[in-house]
């Protein structure tokens, strides 16, 4: 599926979840109107989306947290799959946009591109549920059911290659951190 298709479906079906997008999902997530007070971008710390999401999930167990990760990003903190499971959180929904590329730096292939399996990695790490979704219509159909699953859940989204320059939302992370903190610390 195209990244924009996946973003639009996740935005429409967000259900008030706290969101943590990273890298090339940040700009379209904002374009889809999701850069709100319950969103923080992991833009300048590639690899950290999953652990920022974990901290939020631990802090706010009654809320759902969705991480919009990249495959190249998650490889940078692959151990976080184990850390997430070990923490015992059940409210983390981990969407991995998998195009096999480091898109932000010019679409260089990932190490081991095509040779590893995100669903198998998640299940072997102890995620309660993990599945791969390749088509937009399947994501649209399955997303409501995904939210009913006990976390942690990993959804691998097969994303088509995109060419062109990297795009960034340009919102300072410090401003988002302050906003999310203000919203959640007082709620």
């Amino acid at each position: 599926m195209e990244r924009q298709e996946a973003i639009d479906i996740l935005a429409e079906g967000r259900r008030g979840a706290i969101s943590v997008p990273t890298m090339q999902s940040v700009f379209p997530w904002h374009e889809a109107g999701q850069g709100d007070i319950l969103n923080v971008d992991a833009s300048q710390c590639m690899g950290s989306a999953s652990t920022i999401g974990l901290g939020l999930a631990l802090a706010q167990p009654s809320r759902k947290v969705m991480v919009l990760d990249g495959d190249g990003s998650l490889l940078m903190q692959l151990g976080s799959l184990v850390t997430i499971v070990a923490s015992g959180v059940n409210n983390l929904y981990h969407f991995v946009f998998a195009n096999g590329l480091n898109q932000s730096t010019g679409n260089q292939p990932l190490p081991g591109q095509g040779a590893f399996d995100w669903v198998a990695l998640a299940k072997a790490s102890g995620y309660k549920h993990a599945l791969k979704i390749a088509e937009a219509e399947d994501l649209l159909e399955q997303l409501p059911h995904v939210w009913e699953l006990e976390g942690p859940v990993l959804i691998e989204l097969t994303i088509a290659r995109e060419d062109g320059p990297a795009r960034w939302a340009g919102v300072p992370m410090a401003r988002q951190v302050a906003s999310v903190h203000e919203q959640l610390a007082t709620s």
Partner: protein, 173 residues
């Protein structure tokens, strides 16, 4: 035989734990460290803040940030090599994103009978210059008399909305 006078002496784990409890810390995000072994064992046993074990210090910076945004009062517990390993997230999250990040750092491989400047371990000698290079305020705990450093560093992290470090110079007792 010449008596060797220790430069740094260990602080009992219960003394540090009491200080941490008094600060209202809710979560300790930790990559294990031999200099804080007794303290970590205490927290892992469920005494005090919730213990959150992570695989790397980079992970720890992210978890600490998420906990802070979610309204909790976390801290980190790592060793000197962990600072070197996590400079990118220290920069991007703790410094640039203004996340209060209070960190206890054990001086792994420090010889307690020598000053920091006399250490053979590069990791021990370069910890403070590295923190200085990034503008991270830091305090030393070289013995029980320095216990006030914990409160000072904690308050600085929240005042600055950034990182602060307490360096544990001898194994906790």
């Amino acid at each position: 035989m010449t008596d060797v006078q220790a430069v740094a002496t260990g602080v009992p784990a219960e003394v540090i734990a009491a200080e941490i409890d008094a600060l209202g810390i809710t979560h300790v995000v930790c990559v294990p460290d031999s200099f804080q072994r007794t303290l970590i064992a205490r927290w892992q046993a469920g005494n005090g803040p919730r213990f959150v074990g992570v695989c790397t210090e980079d992970e720890g910076m992210g978890v600490n940030a998420g906990l802070y945004m979610g309204g909790q009062n976390p801290m980190m517990c790592i060793q000197n090599n962990g600072i070197f390993a996590s400079i990118n997230t220290l920069k991007a999250i703790a410094l640039d994103a203004n996340v209060p990040t209070f960190i206890m750092v054990g001086q792994f491989q420090r010889d307690v009978n020598k000053t920091i400047e006399e250490q053979s371990s590069r990791a021990v000698r370069m910890l403070e210059p590295t923190l200085d290079a990034w503008g991270v305020p830091h305090w030393r705990i070289e013995g029980p008399e320095d216990i006030g450093a914990l409160k000072a560093a904690y308050e600085r992290a929240w005042t600055d909305q950034g990182p602060s470090v307490v360096i544990i110079g001898a194994p906790t007792l």
